[in-house]
Symmetry: C2
Subunit: 126 residues, 2 copies
DNA sequence: TTGCAATTGCAACATAGTTGCATTAATTTT
DNA sequence: AAAATTAATGCAACTATGTTGCAATTGCAA
């Protein structure tokens, strides 16, 4: 089960995702709220928010865990699957709403995909 | 620069990749050779072999680092880019020789991709 | 052989993430 | 409104992957 009590810590974390629709690494999140709560709490809240379909997680280019807001997901229906883009210059991560076609692989059953595109973001492109 | 001296340790690691064309996680490799060399040595050898275009690395589903033999790469030309498949049941990883088409993204410059497909492998499919 | 630089082992470190347990605080019950 | 219940938190200790500095070893060329 996910979030049951709306504590101050939960509200703080939620606010971060609400106020700006941007992916955040756990490391960055911990840094952001380090005066307000323990890192263990951050990990646990993120866990529970993910279970509830409020946020989703994925791995960035260096293997770190990132989270971003879900759109149209719930505790029993995680539908918001998509590739991500990480800028090699500023490290920013974006959720991409593009569809990438995966060809079927002989004798294999592909159930999910983990796609990270890397390069230069809009800002760093120039 | 990569491998300069063909030491016993280098030979041991190379043999593992030669005898079976299969991706290996660093954790597994360290375990495999733990009586023969230090883990630091394993990390450093893998590093140098990658620089030489003998092997390539990528992240598995749990964020762990994996390595597999390269085909047709050299120190100054790493061409063997491809998606990977990891079985969710037996954890085995395969290099895929399929092409996945990445649509261009407005105002972004995609320079590389990191694609991991997950599901059931040939053995676990049944 | 000898000399030297590449390689290795080792211990200590860095960082991400997890766990157990006592304490605190939301929320429900009385 | 107070008490009871139990989810949530803080903290310290831990695990795991990966890195670094440095002294000792070893491959190889001269
Ligand atoms: Mn996303
Ligand atoms: Mn591969
Ligand atoms: Zn950027
Ligand atoms: Zn399998």
């Amino acid at each position: 089960m996910g979030i049951i009590r709306k504590t101050k810590a939960v509200t703080t974390v939620l606010q971060i995702f609400e106020e700006k629709n941007e992916a955040k690494s756990v490391v960055h999140l911990i840094e952001l709220v380090k005066d307000k709560m323990n890192k263990t709490t951050v990990y646990r809240i993120l866990d529970r928010l993910e279970q509830d379909g409020v946020i989703h997680s994925f791995n960035g280019k260096d293997g770190l865990k990132w989270y971003a807001k879900c759109e149209g997901c719930s505790a029993n229906h995680h539908s918001d699957k998509h590739p991500h883009f990480q800028c090699t210059e500023c490290d920013k991560v974006e959720c991409l709403s593009i569809e990438i076609n995966i060809p079927s692989i002989k004798n294999h059953k592909v159930e999910s995909t983990d796609i990270l595109l890397m390069g230069q973001c809009e800002v760093c492109c120039v």
